[in-house]
Symmetry: C2
Subunit: 387 residues, 2 copies
Amino acid sequence: MKRRRIAVLGSTGSIGAQTLEVARAHPERLEIVALAANRGAPTLIAQAREFGVHTVALADPDAAAQARAELPDAQVLEGASGLSELALATGADLVVGAVSGIAGLASVLTALQHGIDVALANKEPLVAAGEIVTQAAGRSGATIIPLDSEISAIFQCLRGEDRRTIEKVLLTASGGPFARLNKQELAQVTPEQALSHPTWKMGPKVTIDSATLANKGFEVFELKWLFGLRFEQIEVVVHHQSIIHSMVQFHDGSMIAQMGAPDMRVPIQYGLLYPERVANDLPCVVLAEIGQLTFERPDVGRFPSLRLAFEAGKSGRSYPAVLNGANESAVQLFLEGRIGFTDIPALAERALEAHEPFDISSIDDVAQADTWARRFVAHEVRDGSVR
Amino acid sequence: MKRRRIAVLGSTGSIGAQTLEVARAHPERLEIVALAANRGAPTLIAQAREFGVHTVALADPDAAAQARAELPDAQVLEGASGLSELALATGADLVVGAVSGIAGLASVLTALQHGIDVALANKEPLVAAGEIVTQAAGRSGATIIPLDSEISAIFQCLRGEDRRTIEKVLLTASGGPFARLNKQELAQVTPEQALSHPTWKMGPKVTIDSATLANKGFEVFELKWLFGLRFEQIEVVVHHQSIIHSMVQFHDGSMIAQMGAPDMRVPIQYGLLYPERVANDLPCVVLAEIGQLTFERPDVGRFPSLRLAFEAGKSGRSYPAVLNGANESAVQLFLEGRIGFTDIPALAERALEAHEPFDISSIDDVAQADTWARRFVAHEVRDGSVR
């Protein structure tokens, strides 16, 4: 059997580490040929040694220098462009896009433009540049395979189905760690509290996005672009147990759901080995032990990020890139202790309101909208407080 | 578009009536070309007039005579053999097997032997003669499409999937109307009580089988034979809401579930129009309104029919046909008020214990086991009471 050659962009993060775990479990099917990270040289160096990888990239120049010193036989690419060149340099069959934030856009786009399939965990490229990314894949014939558990669920529910028969998709949301807090309590949430997600172990950006439900809003964009849906066909349902990972309602009255233990290795393995389902030792769900699954409508009053995603999505043009940039800036400010938890969606909403929209037809347009949003947020936040 | 030509065996029963409802909703895709029933001439005559059907069959000679009088232009076949000849006589593309009980075996088998696809609601042929039925389909290349909501669920969950990747299937059970009764209360259940099923509107035989969980046991046989499973791969889970119609657990940790409103027209339409999913106005499930789905293990202490199905299935040979025959006889006696509710599984169990098994290699062997079981039950029940 020919092994699938994998380039992991964002190998030192949570999804990157779990990707390598899956690769470790299936050495006869998967070969890691390239690793890239923003910084985090020691972890990447150890990964390169374990998997015998000779081509790596580090965005940070100091980290790249350290890798050159410790991996004398390896080719070490550098800078943001290093990440984009990496997949091409190694002739990978599949790029895992697991960089955090909009920083992942260029490398994902480069891979798709060159006809390389991408297993995508990084949501922001589809939020800010969904049309550009999916058109690039369409032109080259490359496939985008979702790694996110909810989006993988929809991808799995659609196996063997005709997408024209979709009535709507039901995107499940755990509700986040603060599902039960009122507005006043939400305003007091600290970064430490927000970083401890009840179900999924993830990096800081996506963990905060999960707590504000901005992450769920971003998944709406993933669904829209990956499955060619209208925003009106996407509905969010709060499901605290995170056992049903999402569902498709077909126009004949049938619904198909994908379920499983809340363990990212299941959708990651599915994405890396797609279309094969390969046996593993990962945990399974025992419904009779869980006893019940609950469902409720999301409260967009307390969690406006979800509403903003639908609004920005339906308005289109540069609004989604502004939403993404404003949110990414605000999350950073929250993590630095400079703004409160509820300021994150408040700043994103103000950015959307203040923005003069323009058409997005290139990655430069995306960058322009992103920069505008970040400057707007920086300008709104002065002297450690939101103006 | 070429219309699919349908022969409905058992058109006057509940599944038959709903099959015609689906045909009525999709006249551009479905054409009813033949109708058959045991008796119930007036209903069948009205159906034949509505759908312009010129070939019908009635097992009962008096009913056949009545049909001949009222449908002078129609060919009216008669007797058990009439049902078997019907599908062949009309050149149907698809036979709907919706006769009640083992009486449906011969006609289903004949259709399959002649390469005609069968949409099967009638469980007993697969219980008593699963190997014969599925081998006949395998030889001729005909497809058996399940109409039963749970079995259709598994069929739908397996769209685009490789059956070798199934770890197990989870068959959901509503628990029946008596899920909360204790053994003493179960012994007092009357036919009237048992005939009012909480969720599904069905004929008397299958309604009683649902209340004893014998029906769930029969579905285990359907799953075994239609999907080539081992009995060890089939697990029953009680799910009172009947929203998840069944699930497949794959060996990669993923589970796929099919869900929907408890309305038989959804799986019937799926079976008649397979592989197309066609838009309709049938009711959809709104999970946020339902609020919760519950799951628990079945209680085989109070509902031994389920245990008997697995035991007879694993023992094989003539045991399943004996289970089916004994159950069918006992249900009839219960409906006649001659035995109690808990006597149904008790008689089936005694029949299995007393039976000297033999190999089943023909429909005659099935008939022999069936006859033995019915005689055994008749012999056990004397003077209106169980000996």
